[in-house]
Amino acid sequence: MKLVLSEEQRELREAVRGFLRTASPLPKARDGYDPKVYARLNGELGLSGLIVPEEYGGAGAGLSELAVVLEETGAALLPGPFLATAFTALALTATPDKELLTGIAEGRVAATLDQGELSFDGSAASGTLPRVLTGMEADVLVAPAPSGEGGGKVLLAVELAGPGVRRTALEPLDLTRGLAEVVLESAPARVLGPAPQAGVGDRLCVALAAEQLGVMRAALESIVAYAKVRVAFGRYIGSYQGVKHKLADMHGKLEQAESIVRYAAWAADESPEELPEAAALAQAYVGRACFEVARDHLLLHGGIGYTWEHDAHLFYKRAKADEVLLGPPRIHRARLAQLLEL
């Protein structure tokens, strides 16, 4: 089991962190998706191809490396289709498609994966997907449809800028990441292959937990920094045990969350039989911990944290949106009960 970052992983982290610090500081995250930043992320840092196999032009790295990156994009609340594209690439590890993977690896294609089932007539897809992650920003939608043979399912790819597609931007709780309603009416669609049976959902859980780890780390750093400069009654508020002890508890959650994310990413890469439990654990623990830390970081800011101008609510809302992104959190607990054979 590997719970400590390697030298290379630490370098990757520093590179992404350094890039985002200047390219996408928080005030910019409020303005939403910036295609130029996304292009540089993929161009200069090659991140969209990170987990794409080398045969498709990617770096062939594992979920452990992707987790390092997602922690940083999470901490920066980076808007745009990075997570959705990573989700799609994870789905395509089980259903590899040269055209799409190559496009993702080269940074040409932003994709989004949705679990909502489409209908498919052999060449065109129809259906309504009510909340597609970064649906306005993505170029390609990947979603399942019945294969028509023996009750199986296939994965379809649909060009979102193509005919038969109607997209409506929705107002998301989380200002820093878009959602769209996507209505397909006989939109040309391409079969990528059979829909993956298992494992992809687990990988999404781990990837999301890595982002959540970044969100909670940045939220904790923000309130710790504030507690060192904000004065009330003649003392820094961080010197009051009422604040200090809460922050210490938040730190304990962060330490445990990081340990779980490292473990689950390692399991995805190296120990597939441990992955299902590790993935459910990651969502069950990290999802909750992330919201709790983001909540307390906001509350401890006092009145200023309640204002629109302050960044605290951006973390709080991202944490809440992430907590429910893959379904009501109880499904991860139910999965754990099942995997533990309780």
Binding site: E171, L173, A232, T307
Partner: protein, 388 residues
């Protein structure tokens, strides 16, 4: 007239005169003012306030009877709440006769709207560390500075302003209270959006705003004791209101949630049970406080425990409800997304949870105070606000 008759009469008057629905935002203020004038003329505004200044000179018993009758209606009195609950009572307690004569009756009749100008960006929980200056200039004062978290300021005619008049003495000893004309040149009101995107309060900027000395409330540099009076009235009106709203329109209540979640799942049922338990526990505590008040047992700082519990419950239930709802709650206009976006407000308005715990610890349990480092230092040497 005995109390039962009083209540019946109030009920009858309200049935005839209370508006049947919320007026449209646009002419809300005009209609609210009309209603207050009618309310005043009927003798139901300022029920316990002294007759001499325009009140009815009756007792808490009549006030309670009217409040009970009013519970069946939604009265458009929101913009008058600061005046009626805080600044008006402060003037009754601490103002000059001239001030009472000038301000109380228009306040009770709804002709003039009030706001309260205490908090600043660097002085929230610790109001006494505020930095807005008032400097004497003959029989006037010149005010410069910034206030924040000011409700209804964009409608206000007058504001009760706490300002620093001496920086060479410890922070509580160099403050003075004034009534400031909100229409005066140099007063800028800027709406401040809260995290849910709504503009529920304001920032106020004072740029060389003149206040006549006759609008000073209390002695020079004795403003803190006046502010304590105001804050006492604020706390009373908050603690009276705690739990009043109830769960009726709350999309995260057990009743609302049971309509939309899968109660076939035992784990979901148990989450609703937990919410029911906490909701009932706090509702019964609030009812007990109300019964005690009626029996003459004053809740005092125990109201802060109720406020703390309400803040925690509000957050707990919005959080729980969004988890039950799942991905639907990711859309900003979902009722539960709105609930989670406004839930922190209950903790951050009227004193943070930490301040409430201090109050309960100090005043209810009688625990020893925190050692204070800010009570003896001259203000100009004191660390305040946000600094390294």
């Amino acid at each position: 007239m005995n109390l039962a008759d009083y209540r019946r009469a109030a009920g009858a008057w309200l049935r005839d005169n209370a508006p049947s629905e919320d007026p449209p935002e646009a002419d809300g203020i005009a209609r609210a003012k009309d209603f207050m004038a009618k309310l005043y003329d009927a003798g139901y505004s300022g029920i316990t306030w002294p007759k001499q200044w325009g009140g009815q000179g009756l007792t808490q018993a009549e006030e309670r009877a009217f409040a009970e009758a009013a519970r069946d209606h939604t009265l458009p009195t929101y913009v008058f709440m600061i005046g009626l609950g805080m600044t008006g009572p402060t003037l009754v307690d601490r103002g000059t006769d001239a001030q009472r004569e000038r301000f109380i009756r228009p306040l009770l009749r709804g002709e003039e709207i009030w706001c309260q100008l205490f908090s600043e960006p660097g002085a929230g929980s610790d109001v006494a560390s505020l930095q807005t200056r008032a400097e004497r200039d003959g029989d006037h004062w010149i005010v410069n500075g910034q206030k924040v978290w000011t409700s209804v300021a964009h409608h206000a005619d007058w504001g009760l302003l706490l300002a620093r008049t001496d920086v060479d003495v410890p922070k509580h000893k160099g403050l003075t209270m004034f009534v400031v004309d909100m229409h005066h040149p140099g007063v800028t009101v800027r709406p401040l959006k809260d995290m849910s995107g709504r503009a529920n309060f304001n920032e106020i900027f004072f740029d060389n705003v003149t206040v006549p000395d006759e609008h000073r409330v209390g002695e020079v540099n004795d403003g803190w004791s006046v502010a304590v009076t105001t804050l006492l009235h604020e706390r009373l009106s908050i603690s009276a209101g705690v739990g009043m709203g109830g769960q009726k329109d709350n999309p995260a209540s057990v009743e609302a949630l049971r309509q939309v979640v899968d109660t076939g799942d035992p784990l979901v049922r148990d989450e609703l049970v937990e919410l029911h338990i906490r909701t009932r526990a706090l509702a019964l505590f609030n009812q007990r406080l109300a019964q005690e008040t009626r029996a003459g047992i004053f809740p005092g700082a125990r109201g802060s425990a109720a406020k703390l519990l309400l803040a925690e419950l509000t957050m707990f239930q919005a959080d729980l409800a969004t988890r039950l709802a799942g991905p639907e709650a990711m859309l900003a206009d979902h009722p539960l997304a709105r609930a989670i976006s406004t839930a922190p407000g209950m903790a951050l308005g009227g004193g943070t949870n930490e301040i409430m715990r201090n109050i309960v610890g100090d005043r209810v349990l009688g625990l020893p105070p925190e050692p204070r480092v800010d009570k003896t230092v001259p203000f100009k040497d004191l660390k305040v606000g946000t600094q390294a």
